[in-house]
Symmetry: D2
Subunit: 106 residues, 4 copies
């Protein structure tokens, strides 16, 4: 999988427009949910979606996620890694393998 190295470009984009004042953690969390809804709209009536549309909406979700990570002083790599460890405890390989059940139903 590819890695993200675009964070500085996002920061510059925001700084040029003086938009950081709007980027409270709460507003960013709302923005992530709003953009996630737009991404989901690509799949509203169909499992197939127009791929260019998916790319654009996914980019919006990712952008707000990186802004929120920055805003709360979190390293995206580290929080993902930390959460994988937590999830790994709840879904041990031997019980979770090939199953989509929730951890409390495994």
């Amino acid at each position: 999988m590819a890695d993200l190295s675009v964070s500085d470009e996002i920061a510059a984009f925001v700084a040029e427009r003086d938009w950081a004042q709007f980027h409270t953690p709460e507003n960013l969390a709302k923005s992530i949910a709003i953009e996630a809804g737009e991404l989901l709209e690509c799949f509203q009536w169909d499992t197939d979606a127009e791929v260019d549309q998916v790319r654009e909406e996914l980019a919006d979700v990712l952008t707000y996620c990186l802004l929120l990570a920055e805003r709360i002083g979190a390293d995206p790599n580290q929080i993902i890694r930390d959460k994988l460890a937590v999830t790994g405890e709840k879904y041990p390989v031997d019980r979770a393998r090939g199953r989509s059940a929730k951890y409390d139903a495994l």
Copy 2:
């Protein structure tokens, strides 16, 4: 801002559990919206949120975003960069500076 380099760890985590079979683009888009709702729940009644909770929920959104990017063959860096260019056209610096209005109201 920090960059993401954790994608290979996510891929290994999923492979170990044989979960890729569940990760259709549609299911991942649903998962992103679900996790975005959990992130928003940290701010349901308050603008202040418990930061450890925010980190965990944000990590979940990011993880599904990276899985979807991988699944549709998109480079996260590139789609964010491409979308910034589109957004930059809609929100030129001179008109958007310091304003949260939508582009059609600028």
Copy 3:
């Protein structure tokens, strides 16, 4: 289809707990999105969902919707009816019949 007549019971439930103070329009909009995510979780990996779970989550979305309608002084019947009229203009029967396409693609 059945109609809703439970609104007074919701109002009493909230009044007993003195919760109206938390129910700003913004907080209710967040709550609707959060509960919509929980409803969607019933269908995260499968088109079939556990029906009791769906009923509970749908009830939560509906409850917050009725609270928001009340809060902004809107009659739920009337806003639905008004919006159906708007949607009917965008999706005339002769062009929209049997199609899930968005109005600008009809």
Copy 4:
């Protein structure tokens, strides 16, 4: 609070357009989440929102909720009432009064 009596009009609107074929429970759950995101967008950067916009987006959420209730054979009144009973158990008046804390933190 006002009650809903518009369900028959929604049913007629859908029947005229032969749209029931698209209204699987899963698609309706996605639609509720999508519209909830649009409702939230009214409050993205501000606690004040344009009320006409809120009414329209709230109407969309409510419409899909009533369609889902109908689709799974649930009486909206009854599921709301049933869920209030469950929530009442988790949030007893004496402990929950005037507090927005989650039940496991009361």
